[in-house]
């Protein structure tokens, strides 16, 4: 079928960092190892300037607010010795209806080294990557992917379980609005590369309509069987859009609380991409639990992003 198939191989080039689904295991492993390298030198040797991005300026183009992700990229860029700039959407001509392409083209013309894109629509970083010659990094596109989160989470998981190899055979449960979760898409694809399996837990209206993947409608059914409970952030405004489910019923069935967490497997861990809605997807007890890796996820997110930036903009491989 020449008509349909010979375009399939286009699209994925080494220029950008767009989606875990487009990366090989080797590539992801290299990024995680590089992140571990930065982490070691940062905490053991106290290195604060790695110098790799000297003279380079990374710019963020965020159509959706996310102070955390933006600051993580900023921190990563600066630790590598680069500079970081923001493109302020609200006060720019974007507000006046300038096309996505025109905006992106301006950033390239201004001479930035790379652009970090966050958008409420799926695929925007892919579109920008096709229009620009400079590297594009996806910092979250709609409900599609959040690949830099996944690299950081792999760093956290390999730290906790000893190595990336140790992920082989682990079971991960993603709990919440899976259908709209870019984190679930990216992280499940990332852990799958290293042999971990995923199960998706939520009410039917929060699971993707076509599921060639294991789904469970009851958290209690799987809580004792999984090694990682990945609690997704509940978008309360999204919950309100749905006529068929209310917050109280969601909390009753899917909140990870003190009583439920007691049923977790020995050695099991809890993850959360942050920011947490305490009282919704987790209760106050779980939010302070030692099994909750959220603080490590934030820390390692920076090292993961350093590895991504370095792979796109750095000179020689340092690892």
């Amino acid at each position: 079928m020449t008509v349909l198939d010979d375009r399939r191989c286009r699209g994925v080039s080494g220029k950008d960092f767009l989606a875990i689904a487009e990366l090989t295991k080797d590539k992801v492993q290299t990024l995680v190892e590089q992140a571990h390298f930065y982490q070691r030198r940062f905490s053991k040797e106290g290195v604060r300037d790695f110098g790799e991005l000297k003279g380079q300026v990374v710019v963020s183009l965020f159509y959706e607010n996310s102070t955390r992700t933006r600051m993580s990229f900023e921190r990563a860029t600066k630790l590598l010795g680069g500079d970081f700039a923001y493109f302020d959407i609200a006060s720019s001509s974007v507000a006046k209806g300038e096309s996505l392409r025109d905006t992106a083209t301006v950033l390239e013309a201004l001479g930035f080294s790379a652009v970090v894109v966050r958008h409420y629509s799926e695929g925007v970083s892919h579109q920008v990557a096709k229009w620009l010659d400079i590297p594009v990094i996806n910092a979250g596109d709609g409900c599609h992917e959040h690949p830099s989160q996944a690299i950081g989470d792999l760093v956290t998981l390999s730290e906790r379980f000893g190595s990336l190899k140790a992920l082989d055979g682990l079971k991960v449960a993603f709990v919440g609005d899976v259908a709209h979760s870019r984190v679930a898409r990216s992280v499940s694809r990332a852990v799958a590369l290293f042999g971990a399996s995923s199960v998706f837990v939520g009410p039917p209206e929060m699971l993707p309509p076509f599921r060639n993947m294991p789904v469970v409608y009851d958290l209690d059914e799987v809580i004792g069987e999984v090694d990682v409970l990945y609690m997704l952030r509940v978008q309360q405004e999204r919950l309100l859009e749905r006529e068929t489910i209310d917050l109280a019923s969601y909390v009753r069935r899917f909140q990870l609380n003190q009583i439920r967490s007691a049923k977790m497997r020995q050695g099991g861990v809890i993850m959360h991409p942050g920011p947490m809605n305490v009282g919704v997807e987790v209760d106050a007890y779980v939010s302070k639990s030692l099994e909750l890796l959220a603080p490590a996820q934030v820390r390692n997110g920076v090292f993961g992003r350093m590895a991504i930036l370095s792979s796109l903009l750095g000179g020689e491989e340092v690892a």
Binding site: M1, V3, R8, S99, D102, S121, E122, G123, Q127, G142
Partner: protein
């Protein structure tokens, strides 16, 4: 005007025969005849000759959206696609819901050799609340009514419109899509949309409305035309309706026959179209149903959008793709090259190509003319013919597109088939694949 040296479509297959075309008639020319002095002769060079194409589904963008298409660019795109006649949808700005606007547009389109039949909307401002004055519009000449772009949600209004369609002898064309089931959707709901996290439009959003309309028409027996069908459920419903004797006519588009939802993997907004490109399984079912004669016509749903509109995110970009200029190539490619196995890579035998080509002439020229004429009495004013080459392959370049908008899903894609010539009465509009400017404006 003579067309010599071609294989002429005779309703079933092809026979070598020359053709004399004039403003009011056509006739086959005998072997021994020579053209009278001064006759313009088109050399078909062994290619195929058949009736020029008729599109019951074009978005002209006139009035109100001349940044996306003008009448001038529209008719040129149509001509290069081999079209002599098209029906322009009413979802313009303002909506064509009044006699005055209908008449204005009809007058302004009359200067072109390519005929443009202006449709009127079914409801005022296409808001779905109140029927237009179908009687007065019909008196003014309107014979095609559609709210296309939107469904007619209110079953009672739809039933009324069908009743009028029967009484007046006009067509009511439906964009079958339940508004609630398709709410917020961007692409086909399926494995790919789940994978990409993109909000989906399920096939049943279409089928439930098809079921409703067929049921209404079982009772009313009006002139229901179901546009751009794209679901397995619709196929089943049409089969059933046909065997039950429920009157309807139906349309499928070239893009639903050729492309599937995996194209959206690259987030190219030129593949964002409504109804959406479906799964490969559904695409193949549509193709089989097309071969099995279930769809009456191929309609392009030519929907130009200016570049800045399509250079938005997949959520924000408007639905629609341009299709007039590429309809023949896309459809013959779907029929010949997109089926099981590696047929596209091997030599395809002539009889298979001719069979596919005959189907195309029936669905893109004969049937749309017949439906229009049998329901409304309207037909193309002048006989028109195309010369096509179903075998040559080429890859479409953006610079080849004469539509004002360039939102074609086929840019850079190798397709089979080309339109060599278009003759409308005494006017040659396309010669050896090139526009003939003098032919565009109707001299008479």
């Amino acid at each position: 005007m003579w067309i010599r040296g071609g294989k002429l479509f005779d309703g079933e297959g092809f026979k070598e025969s020359d053709l004399a075309v004039s403003q009011d008639r056509i006739r086959k020319v005998g072997d021994q005849e020579t053209p009278p002095l001064g006759t313009r002769v088109i050399d078909a060079g062994g290619r195929y000759v058949g009736p020029a194409f008729v599109d019951l589904h074009t978005h002209s963008r006139t009035p109100g959206k001349d940044g996306s298409e003008t009448a001038d660019t529209l008719v040129r795109a149509a001509a290069l696609g081999g079209y002599c006649f098209m029906v322009a949808m009413a979802n313009t700005d303002p909506v064509v819901d009044s006699v005055d606007l209908y008449k204005d547009l009809t007058r302004s389109f009359a200067r072109y050799s390519v005929e443009v039949l202006q449709a009127a909307s079914v409801t005022k401002r296409r808001e779905g609340n109140e029927l237009v004055d179908m009687v007065s519009l019909h008196e003014a000449g309107a014979v095609f009514f559609s709210d296309d772009g939107d469904v007619i949600s209110d079953a009672r209004l739809m039933k009324k419109a069908l009743e009028y369609s029967r009484r007046l002898g006009v067509i009511v064309a439906e964009h079958a899509q339940d508004e609630r089931l398709s709410y917020g959707g961007v692409m086909n709901e399926g494995e790919i949309s789940s994978e990409l996290g993109v909000s989906g439009i399920p096939e049943d959003a279409e089928s439930v409305v098809v079921a409703r309309d067929l049921e209404l028409n079982r009772v009313v027996k009006g002139n229901l035309h179901l546009m751009h069908l794209s679901s397995l459920g619709s196929i089943e419903l049409l089969r059933h309706a046909r065997s039950a004797g429920i009157p309807f006519s139906s349309e499928v588009t070239p893009h639903h026959l050729l492309l599937n939802d995996s194209e959206l993997r690259e987030f190219n907004t030129n593949y964002k179209v409504n109804p959406p490109l479906r799964s490969e399984q559904t695409r193949r079912a549509l193709l089989r149903a097309f071969r099995a004669d279930l769809f009456d016509v191929v309609g392009t749903d030519h929907a130009p959008h200016a570049r800045h509109l399509k250079e938005r995110s997949i959520r924000e970009a408007p639905f629609g793709l341009i299709g007039l200029q590429s309809a023949f190539s896309a459809t013959i490619s779907a029929l010949v090259d997109s089926e099981e196995g590696d047929m596209g890579n091997t030599e395809v035998d002539t009889s298979f190509i001719e069979e596919s080509l005959a189907l195309i002439f029936r669905k893109m020229a004969v049937a749309p003319q017949r439906i229009l004429e049998s329901v409304t009495g309207v037909k193309a004013k002048v006989p028109a013919y195309v010369v096509v080459d179903p075998s040559s392959k080429s890859s479409l370049q953006e610079s080849d597109l004469v539509s004002m908008s360039k939102n074609s899903p086929y840019i850079g894609r190798e397709l089979r088939g080309s339109v060599a010539s278009l003759v409308i009465g005494e006017n040659v509009l396309v010669d050896e694949g090139r526009l003939v400017e003098e032919g565009i404006i109707n001299a008479r």
